[in-house]
Amino acid sequence: MIIIYNSNASITSTATVNAWQASGFRGMESSAAGTMTMTYPSAVNHSDAGDVVVATVVSSGSDDADRANRVAAMDAMVSKQNTVNKDGYVVAYSEIENVKPGGITGIAVTIDS
């Protein structure tokens, strides 16, 4: 499936909306107190780097609650990767459409170059 991330209310440039093959999804990890990071194969096809989506996750003030929030966000993204929509694409996150699963409040995309 094609999976889409829209990080910005205005589509103005690269990294405000992006699409990858869900089958290329390489995984996720915690990256800070209120963030987790996802990676896809590089759009410029580099073998040693990927495109990165950093998701900001709701933060509760407790370290263990923050951990659980990151896990919830990862769970939601797993569900998205496994979603099948034969008539179109899958929206993983969208500011414009207000699709914000798993307590994710924002995303930032870095395209490998």
């Binding site: 990890e29 780097a49 370290d63 990862m74």
Partner: protein, 259 residues
Amino acid sequence: MKQPYLYFGRKGYYAFPAIANGNHTATPVTNVNGFMVPANKAVTDDASAYLQLSHRAVDAGTNTRSAIVIANGPRPGTPAFTGDNAKANIVAGEVSILDNKEALLVESTGQLTVTLVGTDGGLTATANDFLYLEEIKFNANVGPYNEATADICLPASNFISAQPVAYTAAGGVHWDLAVQDKTKLIFKSLHGSGDGVTTINIIHTADKYKEICEAMQELCNSSVYEEMVKVHYLDANGQHVHNAFSSRGITIYGMNIIK
């Protein structure tokens, strides 16, 4: 393509030879040797809720165990203290609890000191004895806890290989004398084929390599698609191990993530 995604969380486990003066700062605890990096801990800070330090005596000792350690008693499941001198004498095979705040000090991040018997709360070990520092619950004082290598979620299809690794720390046995082995689970890297691999190292019950392969096969064949398959992690309540592992008699003592 629907597929399961496997979630692994780190658990610190550092088994190492003791030394008589108790100052282990020359070999700091790292994410590589101890699967964790404990933060500074002063004598006034009690870390026993999330870190356990145990001493397994290989040698006998005379008047080497302090009053607090005697009062703590042996680690549950290990032999009772039987030495003379009001149990201040150590008998080979006994396992003492040293995670009281007076004994376990982290002077600088990852740098351990265990107080001497002269300082109430500790004991005097020998170079043949072993110490075991274990992370038992999630706590922000033991890292990495919210950054890279704290945890990871990987697609099952990116699993490459499981390889047994020689494990001989502390004689290759836990403080309760359970024999241990180590296995690494190797996945394709988060960042691509040119960036090496991502490795999950597991210290676990001995002679369970085949069972780990079975467990991985079961997890990779699962039809859990709406959330991650949580293989192993710590939270504030303790350790969580997926039934695919625990039902096969696999105790996980430590786990780290190397990218």
